[in-house]
Assembly symmetry: D2
Homo-oligomer: 342 residues x 4
């Protein structure tokens, strides 16, 4: 029975607490937050759990085998690092750390100590992403040409990270999981519309080793919530609309055919192919529940989490590179030592 402490009980912490409380093989033993209000809310929902106003106390509690960290990004490294050094397994909110240097240190520490280090990229555990992975792995799409995501809404402006670190972070993890191809370069453009705040709107173009390109449109200042991803392949294409209630994934038997016939002066030797559309039924599993069980399983068996520290680090590296490109108005930044392009 793995004892879990949830550190940080603000926006996301209550979800972690609820899921660990409901998951078999573990129990929620403590909740830590510096805010008395947050602890009062925690007490109401989890009256039998130990409440701490300093997260350090959780690391002294012998009942705590693992911590789940849901604090602001700038505190991730300190808490995760201290937890690993204290011999605790760590699940940390995304993005894993503020810098890739910090990320590399965590990774090293976890590996040296033989501890599980996992990053809470929740979407990776959703039935929709699992279905995309399955379709792509089965080569149903043919060669994957692109991944184009729009992830916008009227969102809470954050003070310690820009919109890329808040929203694009989802797609970067999904991309790694689904396409499994290393990025070669990124070009990003973004802007802040509220004086003194980080960028609240950004567009990223990401070039992958496989030849695929990814584009991410993220925005905290949109009048309407959109969560839509288009994945284009040589044989089929997917539209993933996460706000749809029952048909989140649609697979289109559509594309182009190369032909020999020259149609007329306007068109290429390329013709459309328009076939059926198909919306596979998806499981209704809650992703965070699946993720909590996976964390417990990895701790027990020692196997690598799907969203392990390495994936978390790759995501942080992409966030850093994108932020640098954004400061240069789209000037591309290459990966592999993070050298600037051209």
């Amino acid at each position: 029975m793995i004892g879990v402490a949830v550190i940080g009980y603000g926006y996301w912490g209550p979800n972690l607490a609820r899921c660990f409380a409901e998951t078999d093989g573990c129990r929620l033993v403590a909740i830590a937050d510096a805010s008395p209000d947050a602890l009062a809310r925690a007490a109401k929902r989890h009256p039998y759990v130990r409440l701490l106003n300093d997260w350090r106390e959780a690391l002294e509690d012998p009942q705590v085998d693992a911590v789940a960290i849901a604090t602001p990004v700038r505190t991730h490294f300190d808490i995760a690092n201290a937890s690993l050094l204290a011999g605790r397994h760590v699940l940390v909110e995304k993005p894993m750390t503020e810098t890739s240097a910090q990320g590399r240190m965590l990774l090293e520490t976890a590996e040296r100590r033989g501890l599980t280090l996992m990053v809470d990229h929740t979407f990776v555990y959703s039935p929709a992403v699992a279905k995309m992975k399955e379709l792509i792995a089965a080569d149903d799409l043919g060669e994957v040409y692109y991944y184009d995501s729009t992830r916008i809404n009227l969102g809470l402006f954050q003070k310690d990270v820009n919109v890329i670190w808040d929203l694009a972070v989802h797609d970067l993890a999904i991309l790694q999981y689904v396409l499994n191809s290393r990025p070669t370069a990124v070009s990003a453009n973004g802007v802040s519309h509220v004086h003194g705040t980080p960028e609240n709107m950004a567009h990223l173009s990401l070039y992958l080793e496989s030849g695929a390109v990814a584009h991410l449109n993220v925005n905290w200042l949109a009048p309407r919530k959109v969560r839509q991803v288009f994945v284009g392949g040589s044989r089929k294409m997917i539209v993933w609309d996460d706000l749809e209630v029952s048909e989140k994934i649609k697979v289109y038997d559509r594309g182009v055919n190369l032909t020999d016939k020259v149609e007329d002066i306007y068109s290429m030797m390329v013709s459309y192919r328009i076939g059926d559309m198909w919306a596979p039924h998806l499981a209704t599993t809650e992703p965070l529940i699946a993720e909590a069980a996976h964390f417990v399983d990895c701790i027990n068996t020692g196997k690598r989490p799907t969203t392990d520290g390495r994936l978390g680090l790759q995501v942080v590296e992409m966030l850093e590179a994108a932020t640098r490109s954004m400061a240069m108005r789209g000037h591309p930044v290459e990966f592999g030592g993070m050298r600037r392009a051209s």
Copy 2:
């Protein structure tokens, strides 16, 4: 009564012919196309009109006062230039020319000869764009922060232009018309998925003098047609969905407020504002009909067309700059002599 010859009777020419045939104050006198099939189709629809297999004949016909050119982009300059030199008013399909140098020559010739030179940026004459212009001009939106467009579909691959010249061209003209602010720099990323063809997918970020940014997502290889523009302002925001039948324009009373109150460690001193949504009723005028009437009116009165050669030239300059940036994977290209940025 202005006599009009339509040159080019492929995909778009028939629409021009129909509209000039129905517009008061002008008459359709000739249709030119090198293809016998095209002329046969023209004969069936317009049996009383002169059919020419060489557009040069139209310029010798004294009944032809103006030409409407709907041929491939690479032929625009030659035909438009010859027409102006022959003393004919010109309406030319967008984009106006293949290069900005050609565009400047046309502009000069038209001005020297006192002829009307107009570019067929049809969307500028649509009720939806007129409504956006009206709302922005009345300062309903407050400061305009951004214009973000998605214009994708499974489209005919073209061999003489990339997808920017085919699809982004619409937004570039609309932007000029609606925001009336000069661009300062552009960063573009794009890719070709079919060997030997121009880029079929691209993303542009455009910085405007006013401080607003524009982003355009264009793609010929999308499984579904999307024509959606978000315009964000400090007071209100617009969503223009051109595929909606009756509510193409929606105005959202939404945004952020700056406050003094520090909410918690996660959030800025920024709060949401979520008010009503409003979809103004739009006229059902056909844009091309309005445009044809405007062309005739400009010829008769000598006034500048809304989409005159200067606007057409600015659009071509932006297309050129975007294409250059795209070749450099997003490296920004500045306007004002077209110097490279940084």
Copy 3:
């Protein structure tokens, strides 16, 4: 080569004229309408066609082999009857006649004279309806339980027919074609909201011999246009949304299973079955073009039209019965001699 005269050039006549002008194996020889304005419009579109201000002249023209009647319902019988008596084949706008008695007379005359009598139930020739027919005929849906249609909009109030005769008429023909089951009884409710006009809103429940039930919701006073039909079967279900651009037909692998297990005090021994959804690609044929070709083919070969006079008569009988039930606030009217129920 069948010579066709179009009688009535108001709202629908121009479509018939265009389609017969474009269909192989026939030619449009005359257009008749009492209104000089209508004839002027006809002249502009079809300058080579004979224009008549009295439809009777069409029947004296030896070039006219067939007539297509698009006049108000109350005139259908006189014109169709005179045409048949003059030896002309007849395509008549739906509903075929004002009364079933008139319908029976037309049917008799057409059969006695060996002439083609066809009713313009256009939807029957649409790719969406063809797909539904195909799926049902292949037993993909299992036992068909119901057909539930909503066909509403802000529509032109008509003075010679109520909304059932204008809108429900579509579904009644589609039902006959797709389910091929005789109705046993109808219950209808409806109301007029504008003094002195026929009912503008109505709901029909129709019981079929097969055990299936149909429900039609028709309304001229709805703020939004809806064209949506749900077809429920024991194995699969269809949603046909005719306003969708590219996915008009969606097939759902959903239903209920009977089980032995008693769940709890609330639920039956019935459980859901939720599988995939599938949207077959549909042809983009224009239904009226297909229908015009079918009319010509039936004339040439003597075969029965899909929407022949018998189907047209059944539709009129259902319209009559529904109108009677509506006058009695839903009191059911049985078919088979049109006796009243209970």
Copy 4:
């Protein structure tokens, strides 16, 4: 501080328990359910609350001032009646009772004993319904012509009630609240598609004293969930789509105008009016929370609940009449002594 016992902890009971636990001015003191599993679930969520396997014990507990009943319909009367006789205030799940006779008895008992009797018609407490009520009360819609509801999904078949009692019950309460007009007659049609189960699909037409008509389309065997209500008025119309996330209520400035001009032989002296659409921002209050607070307030102040026993009784009377009409295939049933029509 009002002590509340929740009786029945199946599908809906947990929601009542949660809301009373969170509402000021009351506390959740007991939960009763005959099922040990249900009580185990209750214990997990509400560890401090008294658990009873017989609801009668709740009536002996002096801490229980009021009961909230969420048991099957057939048990409502016995439990509610015993509770009132034991001096407890009652909130009972809709529909209030199985028969109107039972309903009248409850009403009498509650009035005689001066106790609050309230029916849990939750939708009446939703921001969307409140907005409709407000718009209609302010005469924004003009004369209300109709209320047309579609409330369908793939739903759990129930064994003690037909689909009217399960789904139409919502609209009947909303209608009473929003239009406040007595029904004069009802015509209903329905059918059972699973042998041995109550009707799972039904259509009701309801005639109101005000002249308005209501139509309800309810179905447990639909492939897709729909919760859509059209309300048509002489001046404006409302579409309420309860599945929309942020724009549940849309108000259309649309209708018809009576004119003197006779357009042509097809049309009446009626013309369209198509103006703007407007979606008012709605509060995000949870209806059941508002309802729980209202129940407590009514107990404390003695004021009549919005959904009091009289409204609950009217709903049951309409359900009974509709069920009778359904057995006669739409034969209308009149209200006022429940005499059969015609």
